[in-house]
Symmetry: C2
Subunit: 261 residues, 2 copies
Amino acid sequence: MIIDSHAHVMLPQERQIEMMKQAGIERTILFATTIHPETARDIDEFATELKNLYDILNGRKNPVQERIASTTELVQIVKNNPEKYIGFGPIPLGLSYDENLEWIERYILANHFKGIGELAPGTGQAGKLEPLFQASHEAGDLPLWVHTFFPLSFADIKVLLGLAAKYPAIPLIVGHLGGVNWLDTLKAVRELPNVYLDLSATFTTVAPAFAIQEYPERTLFSSDAPYASPLVARSILEQIVPDKQVLQEVLGGNIARLLNL
Amino acid sequence: MIIDSHAHVMLPQERQIEMMKQAGIERTILFATTIHPETARDIDEFATELKNLYDILNGRKNPVQERIASTTELVQIVKNNPEKYIGFGPIPLGLSYDENLEWIERYILANHFKGIGELAPGTGQAGKLEPLFQASHEAGDLPLWVHTFFPLSFADIKVLLGLAAKYPAIPLIVGHLGGVNWLDTLKAVRELPNVYLDLSATFTTVAPAFAIQEYPERTLFSSDAPYASPLVARSILEQIVPDKQVLQEVLGGNIARLLNL
C-alpha cells in the first residue's frame, strides 16, 4: 500500500483527495494546520498565510485556541474519509507533564489519533519536548513527529536525539531528515532504532538516497503537502531507489508497520 | 531545446551523458567541481568529499590551485562534447579588480566559457564580489552564478541584490532561489530585470511554482547534478507548471536567450 506518511489538511478537501489519486496514494497520515497556504494565489497572499503561522509559533496568536480549532477541523476531515486518512494531532509546545497528559487524553486518544505532531520547537527549544516524551510514554508510547529543517541547528537535533535515546520505547519521526544537517543526522541515528527518518523537503536527492541505503526499514515517504506535491514526492523516490522491494517498504510498508495499520 | 542550466562535472563522464539522455536534456551548462561526491559509495565517503570541499572554501587547501585544476578538467570535458556542454568557469573569491580581470581573460574568455561561477561566498562575504562585478563589466558583462542556499542569510542576499542593482548590465543568476529565503528573494527582485532565478535545490514545490508564476521569463531549470538527478529536477517542473509554453521557456528558452545560444 502507498502511504503518504505526512501531509497537512488542505482546502478544498476535494483537491487533496484528487492529488492523492493522481499520485496513486491510498492512505495519508494527516496532520492539522493553522494556515492554508494552498489557497494563496500569489506571493503576497502566501506571505500573509506564513505570517499567521509565525504569529502562532511565536505566541502572538493564542497557540492553544488555534490548535484546538485545527484539531476540530482535522477530526471532521478524518471522519469524512476514514478509509483514506489516519490522524496525528497537534499539541502546544511547553506544556508540563500533567498538561501534556491531559491534552493527549482529551485531544489525541479521544480522537483516535495515532501520534502527535507536527512539533516545531524553535532554535534552542528542543529540550522543552521532554515532558511530552514522558507523557507520551505514560499514554502508550505514541509516536512524535518533529520538524527538523530550518530554523533547527544540528545542536538542536542532538538534543532531540538525546531524548530519543532516553525514551527508547517512543518512536521519534525526524521530519525533513534534519534539513541541511541531513548527513550529520544520518550518522547520529545509527544506534537509535526508535528514530525514523521522514524524507520530505528534499533539496538534494543525495540525502534520501543515502538515508534509504543506510536505513531501508526506518525511512518514510511523505509529501508534506501542501508544501510539496504528493506526485512529485513519490516520483523522486521512484527515480532514486533502484530496489523495488525497498521502494515498497519506504513508500508504505515502514509506516504501516510503525503504526500497526 | 531542453537545457540543464547548472550541473557540475561528474565522473565517469559516461554516467553524466547517460543521465542527460534519460532526462531528455540536450545541453548542459557545465560548472567545474573540486570534489566528486558522486563517486561516494556510502555516507562516510560522502562526508570525506564534503570535507575536501570545505577545506577549499575555508582556505585550508589552496583555493587558487584547486580552481585551476578544476578549470583544466572542465575545459577538457567541454572540448570532448562541444555539442552537449557550455562551460561556466570558477574564480577564487576575494581577488582585486585587476586580479579578477586577469583571471577572466586567462581562464574564462580564453576557454570560451559563457559565464562565471559557481560563486559561494560565506556568511557576511557577499560584498567581496564587487570587484568581480566590476571586472565582469569590463570583460563584456559575463553572467555571474552565485550559490544563495545555506549558509547565506537574507541579509547576504540583499547585499548581492544591491550589487545587481548597481551593475544592471550584468546578469546575476541567484542559485537555488535564495534557499529558505525564497519568498523574500522573490519579492526583492521585482525591479531587477538582470536577476535570474535558478530553480535547483527545491525543498518545497511552492517556491518554484510561485517563482515561475511571477517571473516566467527569468526562471531557469537546473539539476545541480550530482546533488540532484536531472530527471527528478525536470519532472518536478513538468508537474508544477500547467502552461506548456511557459514550461518550455523555463526548461530551456530563458537560458538560451540569456546566453545567446
